[in-house]
Amino acid sequence: MPYTDPEDPGDIASFNVHNGFPEALVRGFKSGFLTEADYNNLCQCENLDDVRLNLQESDYDQFMSAQTKVTPALVQEKAILKMVKEFNFIKAQAQEPLVTFLEYIQYEYMIENVMLLLKGTLSGRNVEELIDQCHPLGLFAPATMKLIPLFEASPKGYADLYQTVLIDTPIGDYFSRFLEEHKPTGQDAAGAENAGMVRHVLEEVEIEIIKNSLMKLYLEDFYRFCEKIGGDTAEVMCALLGARADRNAINITLNSFGGPLNEPHMRTTDRRRLYPAIGTLYPEATSDFTEVSDEAQLAAVLEPFPVFREIWAVHLNENFGHKSIDDAFYERDVEMLELAFEGQMHFGPFYAYVKLKEQEIRNLVWIGECIVQRQRDEIHKFVPLFSENAPWRVARRGGAR
């Protein structure tokens, strides 16, 4: 008998009926994260061949055995492929609503890929090359992948593209909502008009702005989906997504200083549109953000939030060779994502697994680059995963004593 409510993953007694196996799987994959000892060994490596040898001892095993020359980029590529393989394995075992949940995780990468394909095609790059560059976690059906970059720069081509992106891809909804927001007033949604609009948006609006607008819509949508699932999933995931939304809002504000988005008339329109309507900063702080035009004002808005106050303190100390605000956010993310594994029988671990794996790949690339560029002093500036010596754990132990 099919599920009466497809959004219900079940409670503590019934979750395992459909999701026990994938959850155990994802936890199994979690044990494949590099350990403290692995990181120590990696940091001692003299060259990338040593790195490869050390990785063979870990869960990565023979993932690079076919390569003759090791580069950080190659390590990244292969590590991503490994993650995607594991992700797809989990997805193959999943049932609703877990499948939808996993697809939501993929949407983020799909947005990146669509942006890459569209912009790449507009600047006349090779289709195959573009498809090779796409993140393998965000691939559509091969036919659609090929179709997107093949559009012509004619009204009909744009209309076709509108059709392809809006209807044939799962993230079309975000695109159509984004276009709706950018539609000049007094236009109806007829095909030709839409084609013109797509063209206008693609050619005029900056790629990062489109991406961040889509990400905002995506985060909100994912948030609502998790709320609908309810239970522990909602509790864990909403916190994680909220944290991400907060991070985005702060970063967008901070990084727009000195740019056109910081112009007074842009602050209340374009920049405001990028703030996700979720998270702890929404709505009071995000509406204050629209008034903010320099770092001191931003600091004042963040003052009432202890978490962000700490992160801001890191930012202020950045010039003294300490961590940057990005490192601080990464650390907070990892800390929260690790917590998702603490509870059982919810979907948090699936999301956390992908995100932590992403961080691990970032760490690997970082270590690899540091080795290649002989930056020994900087090599330890990555965020360790599930480590007893993680900065926040050390801080907490220090506080407890």
């Binding site: 503590i12 007694a13 395992n16 009926v17 026990g20 196996f21 994938p22 959850e23 155990a24 799987l25 936890r27 199994g28 994959f29 979690k30 044990s31 494949g32 075992q93 059982q344």
Partner: protein, 191 residues
């Protein structure tokens, strides 16, 4: 009965249906006893199966990346299985309490009060054991599932979580002990 007057419903005969109390008092004590057996066995096995389901899916998944846990964690499945066995044992014990019903000629002289007492006792013993084992089975299953996941991450956790499982399993034993005591005082009179 709809549309009829109360006077038509009420009848003066001893065997007339007077409402729910009638159902309880007019059911055969043998019926009660067998229903108790059915509940004991059925609920226990539902609990066990549920527990194995919950544990099994986790063990399967966790054993993919950590195959060493596969035989150790069968203990969790066995704990679940135990609740089914409690149900079976209880069912057999209860079954042994039942003697043959009186021959039609002896019905008048049969000790119906004792028989009813035995019937109710066996029914409630069976239902109690069934429900406790259901709860015990599910909780052993959930603990077992966690046990498998924990063991896969860190082998030293196995014994610690196994203790939790033993406590969950003990819930079923409480039920069975009370059930046995309850059913001990009950005996169908020999015809």
């Amino acid at each position: 009965m709809v549309g009829t007057s109360p006077s038509e419903v009420l009848c003066s005969s001893d065997h007339c249906n007077q409402g729910w109390p009638d159902v309880l008092t007019h059911m055969s004590p043998f019926g009660w006893a067998y229903m108790g057996i059915a509940f004991a066995l059925g609920f226990s096995i539902v609990g066990a199966a549920w527990g194995i389901f919950v544990t099994g899916s986790s063990i399967m998944g966790a054993a993919i990346k950590a195959p060493r846990i596969r035989s150790k964690n069968l203990v969790s499945v066995i704990f679940c299985e135990a609740t089914a066995i409690y149900g079976v044992i209880m069912a057999i014990i209860l079954l042994n309490k039942i003697s043959d019903p009186p021959a039609p000629a002896d019905t008048a002289s049969y000790e119906w009060t004792t028989a009813f007492f035995a019937g109710y006792a066996l029914f409630s013993a069976g239902l109690g054991v069934g429900l406790t084992n259901l709860a015990s089975g599910v909780s052993v299953g959930i603990a077992g599932s966690s046990c498998a996941l924990a063991d896969a991450q860190d082998g030293s956790l196995f014994v610690k979580i196994l203790i939790v499982e033993i406590f969950a399993s003990a819930l079923g034993i409480f039920g069975i002990i009370v059930g046995i005591i309850q059913s001990n005082s009950a005996a169908f009179p020999n015809p």
